[in-house]
């Protein structure tokens, strides 16, 4: 198992881990993000966007399902929550292959559209602001990126 763990103690620390990951991701990479309400998925996504050079405010894509931003490369933030009973393709490949990075929240609802090789991240809530970030890379390149993150 290539699972890796990072413990953070403040939202800022979580954001910094995400920013560092943003520096390491390559065009067409897909990251899934799971965790309870208030676990820090939004904080993490903001950090990731920062790492990719996004200057605009990153906010919730729950209603619009996707929000796309322009950083050094495109950055797509997908929230599949509203697609639970949909089973429809909304053009996922257009996002996954346009040379940008995509973060997917509620990935279980669009499992069969996701690329096999990707980085699955879970954020677990601990006491107060303590968080456990669990990285589960699938594929050689994502295992490499996960290792890099710990340097």
């Amino acid at each position: 198992m290539d699972e890796q763990l990072i413990n953070t103690h403040t939202p800022l620390e979580t954001q910094q881990v995400a920013r560092k990951l943003g520096y390491l991701l390559r065009p067409n990479d897909v990251v899934t993000l799971t965790g309870d309400l208030g676990a820090g998925k939004t904080t993490f996504t903001k950090g990731l966007g920062e790492g990719l050079g996004v200057k605009r405010t990153i906010n919730s894509p729950t209603f619009t399902i996707v929000k796309s931003y322009q950083g050094e490369i495109p950055f797509h933030h997908i929230d599949a929550y509203r697609l639970e009973e949909s089973h429809e393709d909304i053009g996922f490949d257009e996002y996954f292959t346009d040379g940008g990075v995509t973060v997917v929240e509620w990935p279980q609802y669009i499992e069969h559209f996701l690329p096999e090789e990707r980085l699955n991240i879970e954020i677990k809530k601990g006491q107060d602001d303590h968080r456990q970030i669990i990285l589960r890379p699938v594929g050689r390149m994502f295992k490499h990126i996960t290792k890099e993150l710990f340097r």
Binding site: L37, G38, T42, R56, T57, N59, S60, P61, T62, F63, T64, I65, V66, K67, S68, Y69, Q70, P74, F75, H76, R82, L83, E84, E85, S86, E88, D89, I90, G91, E94, Y95
Partner: protein
Amino acid sequence: MGEIMNDKKDQYILAIETSCDETAVAIIKNGNEVVSNVVASQIESHKRFGGVVPEVASRHHVEQMTHVLEEAFVKSNLEMESIDAIAVTQGPGLVGALLVGVSTAKALAFAHQKPLIGVHHIAGHIYANQLQEPFTFPLLALVVSGGHTELILMRDHYDFEVIGETRDDAAGEAYDKVARTLNLPYPGGPEIDRLAQEGVDRFDFPRAWLEEGSFDFSFSGLKSSVINTVHNAKQKGETVEIADIATSFQSSVTDVLVEKTYRAAEYYGVKEIIVAGGVAANSGLRSALLDRFDSSAIQVKIPPLWLCTDNAAMIGAAGMVAYEKGYRAGWDLNANPGLDIEMYSKN
């Protein structure tokens, strides 16, 4: 006698909007008159607990497009040859959905040799107000919907500056989540608005003012506070007066929206406030805004409900202004899911 003859020919814009759930086509005359406006909602039949499964797939837009187009022409009694230009939502939105509108517009424009205009979806929401009355600059637009909460300053046509926006949830999203927590039927926003008229503001929910001078918004703390209050009461076996929750929640949302809008309006010295987006239908927000600006010289303009939700008439209104300014899209016009309104206005 004495009447100045206006020999200016009437101008018609065919407008297409497919950025999310709705397949919409409209024909607009001279930028301010709705000749026809057809919206095929794709969300009507798929209700589930507290939400809707959206049929945002391109396939649904493709199925609807020809029917909606045909109906827009039938209702208008016009033929394609009367159309002066074709305007289409280019972004932001879902790429697959946007592509259906953009491809349709390009095909029609190419086949009939008409000018093609790409329109920003939020610019459309703002320009919906021009179907009522012309703008007076500088103006401040408060855009509030399920997906957006933004304050946009306009010093002139097609000059957009985002001076504030939500850092987390949009106002409409907070409404939806609170409604779901209270087990209210979908759509939750109007239901909370109705209940808010009956309750008492006794919970004193948080108001996120953020840093001094910031025109940004934040609603996720408020949302969590409401959810916690309801859950804690349930665990203790207490009954919560849903109307009181609704009133307290709504006053927290409107206080911040209205006060920030007021401060920004004063700061930038605007002449009018334009409200746009689905939450503009909220009666609490409407009356709070009108009250706050009552003794002010700044005019508050709120469009009718049918213009607040996604439609193509607004794209036609925005498209007409672009057309008059000479903006033309090339045959390489593409859907841009992340189209930035500030960048868009500079092009």
